[in-house]
């Protein structure tokens, strides 16, 4: 399955001033950093926005700057947000408030936040994006899925450009939700704590990017999903994961779960010297859940711009927590023929 489009801008917000190239470095596990959205965004209109929305606003602002795009360019732009946990705290806190008294104690400003599309709609309003507005809440594969669906929108001609965001916040509800059960603890390779952050890519139709003289980081390639009950079951794991010639970087969350760790090891062994470099973004930044695929894509872009002309990366997320496995190939832009893209 193939979406389409090229990446013309990347941006992340994790607090602590972390920049996209730093996603590529190893290092010790980091705790969710200091995040001060008011400094980056100004205070206007932000008072009732939840944490995931604020993180996303910062990441999108950075990516748009990186892509040399302003609001004037964005009226036909689509927005696709991947987040499972963005508003779970708002929902749970509202119920706690109601049960402690009545609905009278709720803030009347809380209404948008109890609908999970609040992040995407805030982004659409902030930058005047009148194209399709989509929130993908698809578990561990959600970030990779969002990139594929953004590519579909570009390819079918629903939007010439898509702002793709992956975001998960960290709060008292997410901490409880992500804590591994007794059984899950036996399946862990390493107990990586929850992380938080927002990552953003600007996807454009290749011709649109070329027309405005934008230099793409990468092209979106083939998407593949493998379904439960056993998404790793295949005799030719390497081919199944499209780790064919030219894949030099494989982003996989192999530090946390034994099943993924074992699969990664098996693939490396079978490919020998042809095995790609393996990078687990979560090993340093914590479990990113629905945001992972988009963070992986940002990391892949930071890597691809410095790689050889025929370089390719594969993003992989899921395969655990009852989710299937999703994979997306990203190639250095300019290394293949332009696909037939309807505008």
């Amino acid at each position: 399955m193939v979406g389409a489009g090229v990446v013309t801008g990347i941006g992340i917000e994790m607090g602590g001033g972390i920049t996209p190239p730093e996603l590529l470095s190893g290092g010790p596990v980091s705790v969710p950093g200091q995040f001060d959205p008011l400094q980056k965004l100004g205070g206007k209109g932000l008072r009732y926005k939840d944490r995931a929305t604020l993180l996303s606003l910062c990441a999108v602002q950075a990516a748009l700057q990186d892509a040399y795009l302003t609001q004037a360019d964005l009226s036909q732009t689509a927005v696709v947000v991947s987040s499972n946990l963005g508003n779970v705290a708002s929902v749970c806190r509202a119920v706690t408030t109601i049960h402690a008294g009545s609905v009278e104690q709720l803030s009347p400003m809380g209404l948008p936040n109890v609908s999970s599309n609040n992040i995407a709609s805030t982004l659409g309003i902030r930058w005047g994006c009148q194209g399709p507005n989509l929130t993908v809440c698809n578990g561990a594969t959600s970030g990779v899925d969002a990139l594929y669906l953004a590519g579909v929108m570009v390819r079918i001609g629903r939007a010439p450009r898509v702002i793709v965001v992956g975001v998960e916040p960290h709060d008292e509800v997410t901490r409880a939700l992500l804590a591994p059960s007794t059984m899950e603890k036996t399946m862990l390779h390493a107990d990586i704590p929850p992380g938080e952050g927002a990552a953003c890519l600007i996807i454009e139709a290749e011709a649109v990017a070329a027309q405005r003289g934008a230099t793409p980081y990468a092209r979106l390639g083939r998407y593949h999903c493998a379904t439960p009950p056993n998404p790793f079951a295949t005799s030719a794991v390497g081919a199944h994961l499209h780790l064919d010639a030219g894949v030099h970087l494989w982003l996989t969350p192999d530090q946390r779960w034994q099943a993924i760790s074992a699969m990664t090891h098996q693939v490396r062994t079978s490919l020998g010297r042809a095995a790609p470099t393996i990078l687990d973004v979560e090993a340093r930044f914590g479990e990113l859940y629905g945001a992972l695929g988009v963070f992986q894509a940002v990391a892949a872009c930071a890597w691809l711009v410095q790689a050889t002309a025929d370089a390719a990366a594969v993003l992989m997320a899921g395969g655990t927590r009852n989710d299937g496995l999703a994979m997306l190939r990203m190639e250095r832009a300019g290394s293949h023929q332009v696909p037939d893209t309807r505008l």
Binding site: V79, G110, L111, V114, T122, V152, A326
Partner: protein
């Protein structure tokens, strides 16, 4: 490429199944009842359109949206005689509130819940063994119509041979309470397009359809219920909760352009019609602004007076209803009696009795929080 619908199903507070719901709409059955699952003493609003519970004695049962979803998907698989093995198939689920109700029960009463249960893929896999991708979209009140548009896109692009599109929602305490908090005058029922309307009440349910290319359906020898002519999807980019006239008109234009139809070719419109002051006035004005002289010829109806506002499932429920309207040549009334809003004067609202009419093309509107708009155009199937 022509995308056809080869099965359609829905569940609501007035019935299970496409036929049962349509007959209920024609009779004017309403699913409104006093709050069943919430502690009514904590709310000013006292009514909702819940699916009647059979499990008294427990605070509430988790996973109800998931259950209705799986049952609806099974029914459409049966109707379309679609085997999942050997078919390139995807499942797209549009929901407003996913399993946030189950999250609420976990947080407030300790009812067991796993983070993966917020979306529907795991449960569908366990029950139905889907071999292809399953996507859950949480896209407010337009969710299932948006899913329908993207599903059609996947078929048009040749990514898959068949798409199951579904929608499902239960009522959450947080959304019901938040709507209650901003409701000026506690209301007791939903009255779409009525001057006496006082706002929206929530409902729940599910819907599902199967999409295939016309060639694929013909090769399988299955009849089509209708043709999915096009889906317009836009965002107002204007306000978090209030609708925007220009955005709605633009969506209708886009839908009709994708469907290659003109306003003169639309026979009936199934409105979003939530019964709020803003939605109904803006939607009626948008219909006039877009259809102009053709507005007088339109038949107009809506089902939220019967089902309540079923959040993300609403759009697809409307599509399923529209298919049955065209199949039977009958339009159910929007209400038993109506004092029409001034903005709706000149629109052919169907009131009181079911209207018999030959219907070829229907439009279904869905407008969600955050300004997410989706308008669906469907054409009557010919193979009856």
């Amino acid at each position: 490429m022509t995308v056809v619908i080869t099965a359609a199903d829905m569940t609501s507070s007035v019935g299970v199944g496409r036929h049962a719901n349509f007959e209920a709409f024609c009779r004017g059955d309403r699913g409104r009842k006093p709050l069943q699952r919430f502690d009514a003493a904590r709310f000013r609003l006292q009514y909702a359109y819940e699916i009647a519970r059979s499990d008294s004695g427990v605070p509430d049962t988790p996973g109800r949206a998931t259950q209705w979803l799986c049952q609806s998907i099974q029914r459409v698989l049966d109707e379309a005689q679609l085997s999942l093995q050997g078919t390139r198939v995807a499942l797209l689920i549009g929901t407003g509130l996913r399993e946030l109700r189950s999250l609420e029960l976990w947080w407030s009463t300790g009812t067991p819940f796993h983070v993966s249960e917020l979306h529907f893929g795991g449960a569908v896999q366990t029950q139905l063994h889907m071999p292809g991708p399953i996507f859950t979209f949480s896209n407010a009140c337009a969710a299932s119509s948006v899913a329908l548009g993207l599903g059609a896109d996947l078929i048009t692009l040749g990514e898959v041979d068949a798409v199951i599109v579904a929608g499902c929602d239960t009522i959450t305490e947080s959304m019901y309470g938040s709507l209650d908090r901003v409701t000026l005058d506690p209301l007791e029922e939903v009255r779409p397009f009525d001057a006496r309307r006082k706002g929206v009440l929530m409902g729940e349910g599910a819907a599902a359809v199967i999409l295939e290319s016309a060639e694929h359906a013909a090769a399988r020898g299955v009849p089509s219920l209708g043709v999915l002519r096009g889906v317009g999807i836009t965002c107002d980019a204007h306000h978090e909760t209030a609708p925007h006239l220009e955005g709605i008109v633009r969506t209708m234009q886009e839908a009709q352009a994708r469907a290659a139809v003109t306003p003169a070719m639309i026979d009936v419109v199934l409105v979003h019609g939530t019964g709020t002051a803003l939605n109904d006035a803006v939607e009626a004005r948008a219909l006039h602004a877009h259809f102009k002289a053709e507005a007088a010829r339109l038949l107009v109806t809506g089902v939220k007076g019967m089902t309540g506002h079923t959040s993300g499932a609403a759009g697809l429920m409307g599509v399923v209803t529209a298919l049955e309207m065209m199949r039977q040549g009958r339009v159910p009334p929007i209400a038993d009696d109506l004092d029409p809003i001034p903005e709706a004067v000149g629109l052919g609202l169907v009131v009181g009795q079911t209207r018999q009419a030959e219907l070829t093309i229907a439009q279904i509107n869905a407008f969600g929080f955050g300004g997410i708009n989706a308008v669906v155009i469907v054409e009557r199937g010919t193979s009856w």
